[in-house]
């Protein structure tokens, strides 16, 4: 079984991912790039499958700036077999159409039984790349899974929906996406970190894939503005009457 895991490097939603466990306070100045948490979970899901079938190959794939090698190495340290890094300056600012096409060509060249991705990245949040890739590859998609299993030639899982949970399954090859309901990713151990250095790591460019970054259609940003940050207002410390004070505040603001 050959599993390709799509991961992305994103600005750390925590700022610097070191925080005071008591208060949960974060450093908001920092926007260090990190491997997206949902991508780590996707790797975890693939490694779990590998855990029950040792012959499984887990290949982490990322389209990201050349500086993102640290994120891919983390995937290798977690236990992935090899990494493929699509790095090309021409991909800067790529929209979903171009991203999906470039990834699909890479995936097709590499060959696969299953592609696993996160349901949506924490920065873009479009949540369409898995389905778009599936369309390019001409295979079924099983997306937004809260659990994932392989049995025989089928991938199955439970998909979250507003109306409830629905069981879904598809023939392999297929593209799956998972949500944060999947188990937490494992931490790379020392042995993993050491062995990651020796694992195959391939870098590819658009030209090698034969993909042209110039597009006949594309989605374009025309403007962007920052909303003024919110600031705190009244803050009281309860000395026995805060519930009533709060009711008064709500009433004055016509919120009751």
């Amino acid at each position: 079984m050959k599993i390709l895991v799509l991961v992305k490097e994103v600005p750390d939603t925590w700022g610097e991912r070191k925080l005071d466990p008591a208060s949960g306070r974060v450093d908001r100045e920092s926007v260090d790039p990190v491997l997206d948490e949902i991508g780590e979970r996707a790797i975890e899901a693939a490694l779990t499958i590998k855990g029950s079938d040792k012959s499984t190959e887990v290949i982490v794939v990322s389209m990201s700036p050349s500086s993102a090698s640290k994120s891919l190495r983390k995937g290798l340290a977690m236990g992935a077999t090899s990494a493929i890094h699509l790095a090309d300056e021409a991909l800067r600012g790529a929209d979903m159409l171009l991203t999906a096409e470039a990834l699909s060509v890479l995936i097709q060249n590499e060959g696969f039984d299953l592609v696993i991705a996160g349901n949506e990245s924490t920065d873009g949040r479009g949540g369409m790349i898995p389905a778009m890739v599936a369309e390019h590859l001409g295979v079924p998609h099983v997306t937004f899974l809260e659990s994932i299993e392989i049995s025989g030639n089928r991938v199955s899982g439970v998909r979250g929906a507003d109306s409830g949970m629905v069981e879904v399954s598809a023939n392999l090859p297929a593209v799956a996406s998972i949500t944060e309901r999947l188990p937490d990713p494992r931490f790379p151990n020392f042995k993993g970190i050491l062995s990651a250095k020796k694992k195959p790591y391939t870098t590819v460019t658009l030209a090698e894939l034969g993909v042209d970054a110039a597009r006949p259609v594309s989605s374009v940003i025309v403007s962007s503005r920052e909303r003024p940050a919110r600031s705190g207002g009244i803050k009281i410390v309860d000395s026995g009457n805060a519930g009533r004070d709060l009711a008064e505040f709500l009433a004055q603001n016509r919120l009751l």
Binding site: T13, G15, R25, V26, I38, D95, M96, L97, A100, E101, E120, T122, G126, G127, M128, A131, M132, E135, P140, H141, T143, F144, E146, R159, G160, D162, G164, V166, E167, V168, A170, N171, A174, E180, R181, V217, S218, S219, V220, S223, S224, R225, E226, R227, R230, S231, G232, G233, I234, K235, I236, D238, N241, A242, G243, R244, L246, A247, F249, L256
Partner: protein, 328 residues
């Protein structure tokens, strides 16, 4: 006038659900609204009537026996055929899991640009501009598409309101579409969330009361629900509360959950991690109750109470009750 396609969300029992009506109302502002519905053979007439009642001037019924047993493939096929027939200027879908999958595949299939998770749309000089609320509302981004029609747009659930419509007898086209079920995921058993709630929908509620890890247990999370009921509010929660099993995932507010913008947001026992704030910081008035005076939620709360939810909230509920009784 140009055609605007909207993908109707039809339940297995033939009900029109989700934001279908809001999408039809929106489409009617810019062109002829064409509702596309994929249903099992024979179910089209009833559905077309319902869509006409919601203002769809034209209805494209795609019949397929797998309409409710294959994952999104029949809807994709229906939408693609309708796009070929009507040559629309834009295609509107709801930014739900199904909508995201169908929009993504349709964009590839039609070679169309896709603008996702849109909160507003404007049209000028015959071109659409979409508005996006990014990074939990910290930024407002406007986008458009190069390269011509159709432009595929997914609309954030609850972002558009359904306006009053004049029911029409729609012009109906019925086509049978074919899909290879082996090329799509199969849908199996459905497990309902077990939530039969009379509370308002979280996404569109004017008031939201959310509970966090600070509630301490699933049993004690009931306090959140009691305050919500006293205020006529929807119930939300933090990811930590969801992870601890106090609340179902469908209630998670935040960066990887639902984004809400109510008139009033009350956070109980929620520290206000940056990812939680990303889902509620555009609320008009924010109230927070938390034991920890340094909790980051206080940085954005209009009214913050440092204290124990288990003493403050029951008193608040009582005070609300007293005021309501005085009013009658």
């Amino acid at each position: 006038m140009s055609h605007i396609l909207i993908l109707a969300d039809i339940s297995p029992s033939g009900d029109v659900r989700g934001d279908t009506q809001a999408l039809i109302s929106a489409a009617a502002q810019w062109g002829i609204p064409v509702a596309v519905a994929t249903v099992p053979p024979g179910a089209g007439e009833a559905v077309a009537t319902k869509l006409g009642a919601l203002g769809a001037e034209k209805v494209f019924i795609a019949e397929n026996e797998h309409a409710h047993t294959a994952l999104t493939a029949p809807q994709l096929e229906g939408l693609t055929q309708a796009a070929h027939q009507f040559d629309p200027q834009a295609i509107l879908l709801s930014h739900t899991h199904d909508g995201q999958d169908i929009a993504g595949r349709a964009a590839v299939r039609l070679g169309a640009a896709v603008n996702a998770d849109v909160v507003a749309i404007t049209k000028s000089d015959n071109a659409f501009t979409t508005t996006h609320s990014v990074f939990g509302g910290s930024f407002v981004v406007e986008a458009s598409a190069n390269g011509g029609a159709p432009m595929i747009i997914t609309v954030r659930p609850g972002a558009f309101e359904a306006s009053a419509v004049t029911a029409v007898a729609p012009e109906v086209t019925t086509a049978s579409v074919s899909v290879d079920p082996a090329g799509a995921a199969a849908l199996g058993n459905v497990h309902a969330t077990g939530e039969t709630s009379s509370r308002p929908d979280l996404r569109t509620a004017k008031k939201v009361v959310s509970g966090g890890k600070g509630l301490g247990s699933k049993d004690d999370f009931v306090l959140v629900e009691q305050l919500a009921d006293a205020l006529g509010a929807a119930v939300g929660s933090s990811r930590a509360a969801v992870d601890a099993g106090y609340a179902p995932q469908t209630r998670q507010v935040g960066q990887t959950g639902i984004t809400v913008s109510p008139d009033l947001y009350i956070a109980l026992g929620i520290s206000g991690a940056i990812q939680h704030r990303a889902g509620m910081q555009t609320s008009k008035v924010i109230v927070a109750v938390d034991k920890d005076q340094d909790a980051p939620i206080f940085d954005i709360a209009d009214y913050g109470v440092v204290g124990d939810v288990f003493t403050i909230v029951p008193q608040l509920i009582q005070a609300i009750g007293e005021r309501q009784r005085q009013q009658v």
